[in-house]
Symmetry: C2
Subunit: 360 residues, 2 copies
Amino acid sequence: MRVHLVGTGLIGTSLGLALTRHGDEVTLEDAVPTHAALARDLGAGRLPGPDEVLEPDLVVVAAPPDVTAGCVVAALARFPGAAVTDVASVKGSVLAAVRASGAELARYCGSHPMAGRERSGAVSGRHDLFDGRAWVVTPTPETLPEVTALVSDVARAAGAAVRRLPPAEHDRAVAAVSHVPQLAASLVAARLEALDEAAVALAGQGLRDVTRIAESDPHLWTQILAGNAGAVREVLDGLAADLGAVVDALAALEAGADAPGARGTLATTIAAGNAGHARIPGKHGAAPTIYETVRVLVPDEPGQLGRLFADIGEIGTNIEEFHLDHGLGQDFGLAEVDVVPAAAAGLADALATRGWRIHG
Amino acid sequence: MRVHLVGTGLIGTSLGLALTRHGDEVTLEDAVPTHAALARDLGAGRLPGPDEVLEPDLVVVAAPPDVTAGCVVAALARFPGAAVTDVASVKGSVLAAVRASGAELARYCGSHPMAGRERSGAVSGRHDLFDGRAWVVTPTPETLPEVTALVSDVARAAGAAVRRLPPAEHDRAVAAVSHVPQLAASLVAARLEALDEAAVALAGQGLRDVTRIAESDPHLWTQILAGNAGAVREVLDGLAADLGAVVDALAALEAGADAPGARGTLATTIAAGNAGHARIPGKHGAAPTIYETVRVLVPDEPGQLGRLFADIGEIGTNIEEFHLDHGLGQDFGLAEVDVVPAAAAGLADALATRGWRIHG
């Protein structure tokens, strides 16, 4: 397959690396020619010759969200025999702009690989960035079936698991599972900016988890949120209404009202969170699995966590999840080892026998 | 030291186990006598004899937040020679109620061990629940210095790191670092309740992190939030104002406005989250440390993660953080191993030599 990549940042370069390994013929271009040259040097594909006429089977636009639609329209015009896709994390606004341009929609099928890294640029590209990740393809009624099939094949060739959704459904989904969580993390983290040192010192694992993605890039996220403004606003409207009810309930309690309704609002809010959380699938997109957690105290000395790893390896229990939680002000951490319930007691006993302090 | 525990749930029982191991003389009572008997059977202390006159040095009230103040007032009256503390996660409202009762404040010093488990009750109690956790003590101007010292000694005897804060400052701190993050996690998770199966299937690690604590108990959290209504409402007011600005910006962009101000609002929101997140201390309450992450693909087969642990153990690199992220629809996970920057390349090379696929 001949694939032409427009845009050689993190996603474009990673896709070039993956498809080159897969045996496809990949050509590269970027608005900044030195970026394309760097991606070539990294092994993501080749640069077209000065007078070469490209005849790709598929053009993949991997440009920032704001310029994606323009690149798609240009590619549809420039390569009349090619299918065209893009990889922007918003789909409806890109489609609307492509449609408004009068471009030929039959050869266009938007898509969205749900993969990324905290670093950007060609130099951060990895051939296995898409391994095991969802890659959503979003054909329209105008899209030719063979175009959708081609885009899906390329996503699978890159190692991804293809999911098919209409563009608007994709946008509503990522608004709820990605864009609103990002905003919530940022809004909670922003409250820490003006806090006393003594107050932030009380930060625990809960806060760390809620705000981990608050490290994200403002420039990229402005484009993503602006490109999905309608769907994000809709989810936020629901969230803001719930938040308003909580604020009203707290104000009623503050005013000293007996306020059984206010307490009911608080309880309902936390319970609705329980119900929503229970809907998040477990690993590999399967239904959530309940594991048992074996907690082990790990002294914060060189080699101690390594010794734990070695011991667990020798014991041979299959670990489903592993998380290390550092304590505050003392020299050890708490390792949480999740295993299937039947294996928990055996692992805990075997570790205790080897001298580990089991913590629950 | 003679310590009398009022309330033998998770916190009371854990404290009894810790202090008994430490060599203190612990007596137990609970509003439900069979609960106290269970805590005794677990080794958390002894039950007083039927006619025994207790003369404890310290009484620790470990009851639910809603009944804490009443128990503190009763303990101050019943044990005129004892210091009294409580372990509720809210301090100002407990103090206000104790003060309003006319009780003797000199012998009372509130406190808050920042420790817990997702399970409750005596049977979940652990002697090492407080190991390395912060335990905030919140004396008032009326509190005798020796009472504050006694409460601090007991917290340290249980393994905790003592932090001293005025009650109102404690409440403002936990509003920002614990109570508002809990609400944000619940509010985000609640948006998933009505989502299509195909939409929740796109859930990634970001959503999982943001909503992990949305599993919390509505009954307990209603009491905590109601008990800290003022401080939580204040933080939420700031958050709601920021959220309102985001909603307005999205509405302006939706309306097709060119809206440079709207994009500026989105960028500022994410950037403020960056700045707030950077204030969260690293492990052991130290300044945040930047680690390098070595990413390793782990096939989802029995023993593979164990083999990785064994290999890392043999290589001997000290691991600072470890996180396992499962892919979607494919049979492996991505292990993220954080190490000091100087050790990253060596660990990656050594793992690659042993046949592991390094992913970045």
